[in-house]
Amino acid sequence: MNLWLIFILIGIAAFLIRISFIALIGRRQFLQWLRRALRFVPAAVFAALVVPELFYRSGVFTPASPQLIAGLVAIAIAWRTRSVLLTIISGVGVLWALNTVLAA
């Protein structure tokens, strides 16, 4: 399928999600349980995205890799500093250092 069409579909879905309750004002009480469940969407989605990427390299289960160690360091830095920039720099830095040491 054409990539333009895929992006337009994702864009339409994103817009519908964003305007959902702004358009349906007045139904808030009815959807209390839904709001309580949606609170967990970021925590769950990002965990499900990140954890397998740390343990898999090119589609193969790899329980000990430089990426896993760099990822764990980045998680610790993110927890302590809450800084986007420091998290990305520390993760890339640790990965680069480990790859350099292992290649030597």
């Binding site: 879905a13 305007i19 309580r36 965990a47 499900a48 397998p52 990426q67 990965l95 680069w96």
Partner: protein
């Protein structure tokens, strides 16, 4: 307070957060072009979708050759959190005409939501709420598009040895970890991560869907059991 003053207040309030998203915006230009998506399309995606995590998931899945409906579904799951933001903003935008509602919805981001709702709670009767919001939203949109544009232009020139494919999970970690504010959220994250890992053998990262749903259910049930 005039509309103009409210707009400027919004710009000022969100400015530090807008600077913080620049590295992520760059990646949202770099990663699509390095996934083999043409430059013009990679840049257009930033305006059509305007949701970074969603754009990165779409790029990775397109590079993996996933069918179109899996790409659309997985890229949209990541955006479901914005239902929650929409619900929180809805009462403040209720009286606005549709063109305002549409514009504000398109521009909705984690950061604009967070600072606007915090401001509205401080001053529930404040005038020209939509102008404050628009100030925050455009202050996110403009630097984001510039960063993504630069990322698209430099993307192919970056050597693979820099490990930039690893920058996508790192940027997810940077958004995800600071958001874990209480124990039910940590439970949701741990369950989602473990279930996604167990089901990682499924094609097209369907493990993402299974893991995310398991995590949401776990967090919800854990919180309900505690009350």
């Amino acid at each position: 307070m005039s509309p103009r003053q409210q707009f400027i207040n919004g710009v000022r309030t969100v400015a530090p957060l807008a600077i913080g998203i620049v590295p992520f915006g760059l990646l949202c230009g770099v990663i699509p072009v390095n996934s083999g998506i043409p430059q013009d399309l990679s840049f257009a995606m930033s305006q059509i979708v305007f949701a970074g995590a969603s754009q990165l998931v779409a790029s990775q899945l397109i590079a993996a050759g996933a069918p179109w409906f899996i790409v659309v579904l997985s890229a949209s799951i990541v955006n479901l959190r914005m239902l929650m933001y929409s619900a929180a903003l809805a009462p403040h935008f209720a009286a606005l005409p549709w063109r305002w509602k549409g514009l504000n919805a398109y521009l909705l981001t984690d950061q604009s939501f967070a600072v606007s709702v915090a401001r509205y709670e401080q001053e529930p009767e404040m005038p020209f709420k939509q102008w404050f919001y628009l100030g925050t939203a455009l202050t996110m949109w403009v630097p984001w598009q510039i960063a993504a544009g630069i990322g698209v232009l430099v993307g192919r020139a970056l050597p693979p040895s820099w490990g930039l494919d690893f920058a996508a999970p790192l940027s997810f970690i940077a958004i995800w970890i600071p958001g874990l504010k209480d124990r039910p959220m940590v439970v949701a994250a741990v369950v989602a991560g473990l279930v996604a890992l167990v089901f990682a053998f499924l094609p097209y990262r369907l493990g993402l869907l299974v893991g995310a749903l398991a995590g949401i259910a776990a967090g919800y049930l854990f919180e309900r059991a505690r009350r």
